[in-house]
Amino acid sequence: MGTPETSREPCPDRILDDIGGAFGMGAVGGSAFHFLKGLYNAPRGARVVAASQAVRLNAPRVGGSFAVWGGLFSSFDCTMVYLRQKEDPWNSIFAGAATGGFLSMRQGLPAAARSAAFGGVLLALIEGAGIMLNKFLSAQQPMPMIVDEPLPPNGLPGQPVASAPDAASQSSWLGGWFGDGKKDEAAAEATGGSETKVLESFDAPPVPNFEYK
């Protein structure tokens, strides 16, 4: 489809974005590293000239290496997204292992297996650190959790009330649907009451309308 909604899928275009981003990181980081290395190794009086020469010699090479790694990683990541049809940290871990193994393939299978294991462990540590950081940041806001705790008991009495008329009336379809609506309305009101206090990254479930299609 040509609609802008379907073009929001990032995967084929993200590979090019990641190649450019990785080259930028490698070139800038390599420039800084080799500038300092040139300053350290050069004799006194010729430090700046030697450092700039080292940067001009080595920075493009480091940028190229980073671009190759980033492009391969992004390609494998998109492949995993397509195969698994979901996005979670396992995609990055498999992509890291595949990239390490692929880049060491010409050195023989034992070296490739070792590099793949190293890449997988490295990406697992990175993803683990990211999840830990996310938990730490979310744990720094205990107030909404404390405020949210009294509200669920308001929702719980709604459940027996919803189930009682269901059993009493015994109507087959409309009564059951109406009972579900009551429970969901109670739950929506409970969560709606705390809507202003919930984190911005979390949306309360909407009130369902009953347009059966």
């Binding site: 990032p10 049809q85 697992a124 683990g128 189930s163 059993a167 579900d180 984190l199 909407p206 369902p208």
Partner: protein
Amino acid sequence: MFRRILSHHRALSACAHNATTRSLVTRRTPNVPPPPTFLITGSRPVSSKTSQSNETGETTNKAKKDVANVEDPFSAPTYNIPEKPVTFVEGASYGVVILAGLGIAAAAGYAVFKELIFQPKEYKIYNKALKRIQDDGQIRVRIGFPITGYGQESRNRAARQRIPHRVWTDEEGVEHVEVNFYIRGPHGHGKVFAEMFKGADNEWKFTYLIVEIRAPSTAQIILESYIPSYSATK
């Protein structure tokens, strides 16, 4: 200039070292033959004349001193190095250090994989909800079959992989996990609101699973809705 002068100094010092080693060698070589020759010559003058015997006695004393001086540097460093006990002790200590390092690495790996990757609740709920949605015919009819799920609408990989979630515990001590994520198919996309709780049999069950389809047409579908069992006697 300074480099050349320094190199000259190094060459001079090397020549000096060579000279000292050569002088030591020349000093050592004549010390070995003299004792037997003096002893042989000493035996003959003793039988013939008394004055010659006195001179040979003095020379033998000097030879004994030289022999004692020569023997010390050869014997001392060779006999004072014990090898086997030190090697065994060092090997044992190195083995202990290696085992300790491996233990620490195993503990770190176990903590990382168990606590952070294998058991996040939001990913467990996310997987169950996504599987339920992918297997449902109502969603499949509307947005097509290969349905992809992701956490947030963004091009950033980390943002797409992170699932917005909230974990809370109700008054009966039951743990609830709410998640929000997006789904996308060949013909449309939507947003999913799901909540699960851990039941009495320690299994996760849906409280609700609402799919809000936004394209190609707006629709809301409730796939799961929990109704507790009711008994009039309680």
